[in-house]
């Protein structure tokens, strides 16, 4: 007795229990039209291409870097020489990168946290909050070469002459102070965004509980909210560090032109910080075939060291995330 009611197609018996995850295939792509399957194939191809590019970059730099990197390069400064074997290493660049990273992040972190706290916890007048938000976004969108040019204006002014080399009233304007100050602007938006995310994730009842036992807003922020948002703050700091270490334009304009430290008069740490210097990115830029040094072997070695730093920062972000997830999230 055939009716118009369609009989269910014969197939495998229905699966028992819920699907394991959203990714548990609900249908086989074999049943799709050809055009859809071609699209899926493009997805796979491009996904694998991304992986291949990343693997190629790491492997290629590792092979070249390990081939040319000698431990002595890490401890000898660059010297003038005719061949790549004579011209020393890049210890000054390595130390310069560390100096710039430490100084840049120590300027950016307090400012970034302050701005984020104000935006999330205070945020009044609303108009100022709007303006501040778009300011941070605008800073994130400004090309670093423009920041660098702005830096030349600030740090070449006579009022700030004590931060860099000055001769006969002309302020040189190139120093670790100048470069770090402008680099902190590169890191600032990342720190603000990450800290805001962390503060916003804390549910309101936590704040209310704190107010209820008589704490002021700022005490709550310092004692409860910021410690709770520490993983996100740390993530922002790591991302910011990565940008500071990787930036080249600001270094070339506000620090470099030399491959060695050029200390200026003054007490010990200050004389180096006031002087010009170099970082790994600047060294790679100058040592590449288009730069002034043209020592590709050393460029590979320095680039490998730089890549290791970036990979370490990425790993640090991963560890922070995993730890934060283990601690768990707020129940609301």
């Amino acid at each position: 007795m055939e009716s118009s009611v369609a009989t269910p197609p014969a197939g495998p018996p229905p699966r028992m229990g819920p699907p394991k995850s959203s990714n548990d295939a609900v249908e086989a792509s074999a049943a799709w039209r050809l055009s859809d399957r071609i699209g899926l194939a493009i997805c796979w191809a491009l996904g694998l291409l991304f992986c291949a590019i990343a693997v190629a970059i790491v492997l290629y730099l590792m092979v070249k870097g390990l081939a040319y990197l000698k431990p002595s390069m890490l401890v000898t400064p660059a010297t003038a020489g005719f061949s790549q074997s004579q011209s020393g290493g890049f210890s000054d660049a390595l130390i310069g990168t560390l100096i710039v990273a430490v100084m840049g992040i120590s300027i950016a972190l307090p400012i970034g946290i302050g701005v984020a706290v104000w935006l999330v916890e205070y945020g009044r007048p609303v108009a100022l909050a709007r303006i501040a938000e778009s300011t941070i976004e605008a800073i994130a969108g400004i090309p670093s070469i423009v920041l660098a040019l702005f830096g030349t204006v600030i740090f070449s002014s006579t009022a700030l002459g004590f931060l860099s080399r000055t001769s006969e009233g002309v302020v040189f304007g190139r120093s670790f102070f100048a470069a770090s100050a402008m680099l902190s602007l590169v890191a600032l938006p990342l720190i603000v965004a990450s800290t805001r995310e962390g503060l916003n994730a804390i549910p309101h009842h936590v704040r209310e509980a704190s107010y209820a036992i008589g704490k002021t807003k700022i005490a709550t922020t310092r004692r409860i909210l910021l410690p709770a948002a520490r993983p996100q703050v740390a993530t922002g700091a790591m991302l910011g560090l990565g940008r500071i270490i990787g930036d080249t334009a600001i270094i070339v304009v506000l620090l470099g032109a030399t491959q060695n430290f050029a200390p200026v008069g003054g007490a010990f740490p200050i004389n180096y910080l006031r002087g010009a210097g170099t970082t790994l990115t600047n060294f790679v830029y100058e040592a590449s075939p288009t730069g002034n040094l043209n020592q590709p072997e050393k460029a590979y070695a320095a680039a490998f060291v730089l890549l290791l730093m970036v990979l370490a920062l990425n790993a640090a972000v991963d560890v922070i995330h995993r730890r934060a997830r283990k601690v768990g999230t707020w129940s609301s």
Partner: protein, 331 residues
């Protein structure tokens, strides 16, 4: 937590005082940005004022003009400001346009793959890969471009007859539009992927389930529902990538050839092998002439153009993201 109340947070860190201090900090950051915009445009003014709209036009060789400007500044009087930046602007447009077009296509597929179709293990590989590609410093991309991509193009892709055909005009050595576009694509695609996948994840599951319940397959559902709903995120990611691409200086200074030349697509496919130089690398390459007042004004004028375009695209991205609220998606 009961003994946490410490008196020094009372009078010293009173709320009003803290709020005022933080507010002042925020105002200082805002003021800094304003000062930067005003400074850059003020410094750029002589160059714009002298050239007018011809600044953006074509005419003569930019190299020659920059040299004249620089030399006139050393002599003291009679500053020369004549500058026609079309070659640089055209190069910026070609490289940015090419890279963003390719990256848009790739990123869309990859983010759909990450969000919807990749098996768990593939997703766990792809997400760190995208993050890694986004964090590689541009100078490393530039180095790999100069030492790997450029020689490959110069030795294997450009044929001898092609080199001979333009020998009198420009030399095709591999420093080319093609190299710049390819590397810039790899640099901006991860940025787009992360914003696109945030947008795709924010699509309401109910809408997708509704489509699936109607018997539409997952591929069609993704493209017809998820991607369309996430359109504002796609616009936002694209404009941010454009802003990033316009501002990229160091990598392009290394691989684009650093020759002020406007490749002409009407010449046939050979134009992708021709060298050029966008706006941002011009600043890096001429940074030593900052001491000459007219050269200083010209470089700040280039910076002002970059700043204006970056601001324009940031604004466009912001508008797009506001439009997204209507869809209940946030990114």
């Amino acid at each position: 937590m009961e003994e946490e109340y410490l008196p020094e947070y009372g009078p010293k860190w009173s709320d009003q005082r803290a709020e005022r201090m933080l507010g002042a900090l925020v105002c200082a950051v805002v003021g800094l940005l304003l000062a930067m915009i005003i400074t850059v445009f003020a410094r750029a003014w002589p160059s714009f004022a002298h050239n007018g709209l011809a600044w953006f036009g074509a005419g003569g060789s930019v190299e020659e003009q920059l040299n004249q400007i620089y030399l006139s500044g050393l002599s003291g009087a009679n500053y020369v400001y004549t500058f026609h930046g079309w070659q640089l602007i055209w190069s910026t447009m070609l490289i940015t346009g090419g890279a963003v077009t390719i990256a848009l296509f790739c990123s869309l597929f990859v983010s759909v793959f990450i969000v919807e179709f990749a098996p768990e293990w593939m997703r766990n590989i792809l997400q760190p890969v995208v993050r890694f590609l986004a964090s590689v410093p541009s100078v490393i991309y530039g180095l790999l471009g100069v030492l790997v991509i450029v020689p490959f193009i110069g030795n294997h892709l450009v044929t001898e007859p092609q080199k001979a055909s333009v020998a009198g005009v420009i030399s095709l050595s591999g420093y080319s539009l093609l190299a710049a576009v390819l590397i810039l694509t790899v640099m901006i695609a991860p940025l787009m992927v992360s914003i696109f996948s945030d947008g795709l994840r924010a699509v309401r599951p109910g809408w997708l389930e509704g489509s699936l319940a109607l018997g539409v397959n997952r591929w069609r559902t993704t493209w017809k529902i998820a991607v369309r709903t996430a359109r504002p995120a796609i616009v936002a990611g694209t404009v941010l990538a454009v802003a990033r691409a316009i501002g990229e200086a160091v990598m392009l200074a290394m691989v684009s050839g650093s020759v002020a030349f406007a490749p002409n697509p009407a010449d046939g496919l050979i134009f992708i092998y021709e060298p050029s130089r966008p706006l941002a690398p011009t600043i890096v390459k001429n940074i030593d002439s900052l001491g000459s007042p007219p050269a200083n004004a010209t470089l700040f004028a280039i910076a002002a153009v970059l700043l204006f375009s970056a601001a324009f695209f940031s604004l466009a991205g912001w508008v797009a993201r506001r439009a997204m609220r209507k869809y209940g998606a946030t990114a």
